[in-house]
Amino acid sequence: MSEQQPQPNRGPSDLQVIGFVVILSFVCALVLAVLASALRVPQEVAQELDRSEQMMIAARVFTHEGYFQIQNDKGEYVPAKYAGDGRLVAGTEEDIATSNEILDVYKHRFIPTLVDGKGKTETFKEAGIDEEKYLADYKKSGYYRQPEKLIYKILPNPTNGKGEDPQPIGYVIPVNGFGLWDAIYGYLAVEPDGETVIGISWYEQKETPGLGANIAEESWQKEFYGKKIFQPNSEGQINQKTAPVGITVVKGKVAEVLGTSPKAEAAVDGMPGATLTGNGVTNAYRDVLAAYRPFFIKIHDKTETQ
């Protein structure tokens, strides 16, 4: 290999060059492969943690500041802390959750299931679909486009007794759309009445920082609390079978554009300078929620009869 002594016309022979390149490539690939396998688990955990946090933010079980939340008797949201086994008890804002606590609460309280085109729920096992494969394959194209659509049941905060099948206190729908620059992915959590929003989150977006990227900020997301996903008619009633579905991000402020019209219940303020991102959000909700309409009707009817 010490061919660098003054060689008037030729450097190392071709074979030596090829040998060098092959060895170098092999060493590089080896280093990277070792690193990648070593870091695979932390990476998957990090991704799962991020997704769990975002889903729990949408369901108002977790906050942007890093602590859990529960509802007190008056229905207000107060800080909470982890008490083992997926349970949350009242706490303070200082009780910042750790990664394990977050993953544990997620595991206990958020159950992925499928709904079909008629609104009937079934588990992955009953539908004969491999959960991991389904989650990976359709993330980009959108679960709402599949005949069996992904939805997450939100189970209530477990109390001490080992319960029977607890009734869900809400559902989380994965939302796909297209913002100004690129695809946006988020969650929308809806009450068991099938029409009131619990909360939203956007976990993947490449919008303009300071403008469109505000959709990931708490200050804008809290506009969605208590909004309706169906547009009320002029008397303020919702007919889930015929009303337009989706939440509209208006240009400007809802108070100025819609005033006291009942339609304001399905609209939120736009972000100045980010109209197009707002339009992307509107379209996303409209397209995705339309696919779940039969399901909303079903659970609404169930709540009515109770």
Partner: protein
């Protein structure tokens, strides 16, 4: 040993041959990613790590690298270190890696890294090469952090995510003449203007003529 010389490599890179302001290298990431100070700091640290380590290894292999594959070798070494950084960010700083996305990969073609490998690392011994790379990265980091701080402060009223400009100063519908964030700072052209300004200041201070 060559300790004084090695340290002088470091100092040289910090000011006299500052990669951004003098050699005008490494601009792409300086513009694309200096919206927020936290991102700028992460980028600066990543580039410093990559430059220092790759310069070290390029220098280590300088006597056995055939001339015809010199550039590919440098690129391969640099990509290994960039992949290392990328994998670490994805594992331990996931939200930040989402923001930085492809810009981490672009460190590979960051002219700064290649420039150091090509002009310095293949000519000197490993330790000075390492210090040179470290200095280049540090000089780069100082400049982009300055740009990032200015952009975040004027564009968001924050630094490192903490609100600096008091919320009460902001204009609302009741007080329409209050403070408004300088929205231009958030968009890319502002980075051009700020860098142009820095070059201007640098030229005035160092009194040199850089055509």
């Amino acid at each position: 040993m060559s300790k004084p010389t090695a340290v002088s490599y470091f100092k040289e890179q910090l000011w006299h041959s500052n990669q951004i302001l003098v050699a005008i290298l490494g601009i792409c990431s300086a513009l694309g990613i200096t919206n927020r100070l936290s991102v700028a700091i992460t980028m600066g640290l990543s580039v410093t790590f990559v430059t220092a380590c790759s310069s070290f290894f390029v220098s280590l292999l300088r006597n056995v690298t055939p001339d015809s594959v010199r550039m590919i070798t440098q690129l391969a070494i640099i990509s290994v270190f960039v992949t290392i950084i990328d994998q670490f960010l994805k594992a331990y700083m996931f939200p930040l890696s989402k923001v930085m996305s492809v810009f981490v990969g672009l460190i590979i073609t960051n002219c700064l890294v290649m420039g150091r490998a090509e002009s310095m690392a293949k000519n000197v011994t490993p330790f000075p090469a390492f210090m040179d790379g470290l200095g280049a990265g540090a000089g780069y980091m100082i400049v982009i952090c300055a740009v990032g701080a200015i952009r975040e402060f004027f564009g968001f009223g924050q630094l490192l995510g903490h609100q600096i400009v008091p919320q009460s100063w902001y204009a609302t519908t009741d007080a329409p003449f209050g403070y408004e964030n300088f929205a231009l700072m958030v968009s890319p052209p502002a980075a051009f203007f700020i860098l142009g300004g820095f070059i201007w200041i640098y030229n005035i201070i160092s009194g040199e003529d850089h055509p």
